[in-house]
Subunit: 166 residues, 2 copies
DNA sequence: CTTCAAATGTTGAGAGCTCAAGTAACCTCA
DNA sequence: TGAGGTTACTTGAGCTCTCAACATTTGAAG
């Protein structure tokens, strides 16, 4: 148990800016999509991932990985999307554990109708205020963070987060 | 209705990186705080804002503004925090509409106990992988985005988002 | 082959959030 | 002074998410 290294002023400000930005951006997009297309942003992402997949279908596992969703969350989401008729579940013929999620034609239509407004909102809130240089810098920075987040997420605690901080 | 300006490759990648980063980061912090201190990250932020306020109290409105929360969300949150004994509601003597939220001593203790683990997690996931230069760049970029987000949020639609896009 | 661990996915309960609707107090101004 | 708008805050219903538990199927090891 070592002394806590608190955030310095720069870090504090950066952290809060990140927090507020991601909060407000998420809420703005959620509101826009919900209002205009009746689906939350997380569900929109699921439809996008399916639409980009070969045959517009993916196993639940693959879909969860691509959408960075927990299996549970995805399952609940697909339940709802299936009720809406936008996604269909299909059993895998070979391996009876795995299930495909397929984007239906109707789901594709909904996505196609939702996309322009969504992209416009992303542009307005995120890209319009930034220079191209800032966008590229931002991408690199986020990729760096994402790499460690993904690494930490895969094998949480193989070597113990409590032990080896010497 | 003009043609949609889709995101180019750089923008697409930047956008998804932002999305995944903010998602994973939020989830990691939520899990850590929930596990170690029994409160979601949004509630932690509320306690922090109160702890930094003079007299450790704020009106609900001010608190909502600082924590970038809707009044409704804040009200629900304070209900729960009050049940836990970490926050207390006090009526304003002069203006009977307004209510103060006060951080209790017990709430302060909980916050003090939660802070080191939380800061450690933020450091590990966000700041450790970044150079100081990246941190400062990131801060500027986020501030820029935040400025327009705040501006858009305050007066949504004074001039109509449907009309004047000519 | 049988057993046991791993992989895939689902469910239900509980908690937080959103949105729309409400209540109550204050303020303005004719 | 009282009518109408504004400000401050709360509530309830519905929806999504989390977490833990579960069921099923597959693969591996003896």
């Amino acid at each position: 148990m070592t002394e806590t290294r608190w955030l310095d002023e720069d870090e504090q400000q950066t952290w809060r800016a990140f927090l507020w930005t991601s909060r407000l951006l998420n809420e703005a997009l959620d509101r826009q999509l919900q209002r205009d297309s009746g689906l939350p942003h997380a569900y929109y992402v699921i439809l996008v991932m399916l639409s980009e997949a070969p045959g517009r279908e993916l196993t639940m596992s693959e879909l969860a990985r691509l959408a960075r969703s927990s299996p549970s969350r995805l399952s609940h989401a697909v339940n709802r999307l299936e009720e809406s008729g936008w996604v269909r579940r299909v059993k895998h013929p070979g391996d009876r554990r795995t299930t495909f999620a397929q984007l239906t034609d109707e789901g594709f239509e909904v996505l196609a109708a939702a996309a322009p407004g969504h992209v416009e909102a992303v542009r307005q809130h995120l890209f319009d205020p930034l220079s191209r240089e800032q966008v590229l810098e931002l991408r690199e920075t986020l990729r760096t963070v994402l790499t460690t987040l993904d690494r930490d997420g895969e094998s949480p605690d193989l070597f113990g987060s409590g032990g080896g901080r010497s």
